[in-house]
Symmetry: C2
Subunit: 145 residues, 2 copies
C-alpha cells in the first residue's frame, strides 16, 4: 500500500526539496534560508489530517517527527522547535518542523506568511545539506528502532 | 510520577479554561470565541518539546490528540484542523488544536497573533461547553483504548 496513489501537492513540490524518503513519508527541506525548516509528508493518498492515518502510520509519523526534531535542535542549537500540521492552503497532510531562534525573521510569532521565502543559493544549500546529514540519518533510523 | 512538580504556566492559566484532565495531560479551552480551540498540556514538569517526553507519553499524547482532533472536527463540521506545538512565548509544552473555517478571523493564515482574543461571554461559554461534550468524552476514553 506504500504510496499507492500518492502524489505530492504541486505547492509542496515547488517550495521544498526532497532529502530522503521512507516507506511512510518524504523528508523535505523548505527552500527558505530564513530558518532550518523540514517537512514530513506522509506518502498516503488523500490524507488531510493526522487522525486520518492508520494508528500504525500515526505512530510511525510521531516516531520520525521526534527523531528529526531532536536531531534538528541538536544540529542547529535551536532555542525552540515549532512542530505543526496546518494545511489551510495545502490540505495534503504535511508536518512542519522549524528551528527557531530569538531574533529570527518572525520571532516570536509563527513563521507562516510573515516574510517571503528566501531560496537557498547553491552554496548555501550545499552547506545546509551538510549540516542536515545527522538529521537525515536520524530520520532513516527512526522506523528501524 | 504523574504531574510531579508540574505547574501550569501562568500565561496558559490566564488564557485557558480547564475542561478535563488525564494522568498524562490537561485538556483546556482557549478563551477565544473566534475559533474552537483546545490545548493539550502534558502534566510533566520541565518539558518543552514533544521529543523530551518518554516514548510512552509521546504515544499517549498522540492518542489523546487524535481523539480530540477527530471529535472536534465532527462536532464543529470544521474545514481544516490546525495542530501545533510552538511555544516561542510559553515554552511549557502545549499542543494546540484549532478548528478552522474559510472566512474565520485569520483564514487562511495561522491564528496566533492575528486578532486579539475575544473572551467567551457566560452564555457563549455554556453553549461551547455543551458542544464540547463529545470531545471531552473522546479525550476521556482515549487512554483507555
Amino acid at each position: 500500500m506504500a504510496g499507492e496513489g500518492f502524489a505530492l501537492h504541486h505547492k509542496l513540490a515547488d517550495d521544498t526539496l526532497l532529502l530522503a524518503s521512507s516507506e511512510l513519508s518524504e523528508l523535505r527541506l523548505m527552500n527558505d534560508a530564513h530558518y532550518p525548516w523540514l517537512l514530513l509528508v506522509p506518502r498516503r493518498a488523500g490524507v488531510r489530517e493526522i487522525y486520518e492515518l492508520s494508528p500504525a502510520d500515526q505512530q510511525g509519523l510521531l516516531h520520525e517527527s521526534s527523531a528529526i526534531g531532536e536531531a534538528l535542535m541538536m544540529a542547529f542549537s535551536g532555542q525552540k522547535l515549532n512542530v505543526a500540521a496546518l494545511g489551510n492552503m495545502v490540505p495534503q497532510l504535511h508536518l512542519h518542523h522549524v528551528v527557531r531562534f530569538e531574533g529570527d525573521a518572525a520571532w516570536p510569532g509563527p513563521v507562516w506568511g510573515v516574510v517571503p521565502a528566501e531560496p537557498y543559493s547553491e552554496s548555501a544549500l550545499a552547506s545546509m545539506k551538510e549540516r542536515l546529514v545527522p538529521v537525515v540519518s536520524a530520520y532513516q533510523s527512526a522506523l528501524l528502532d
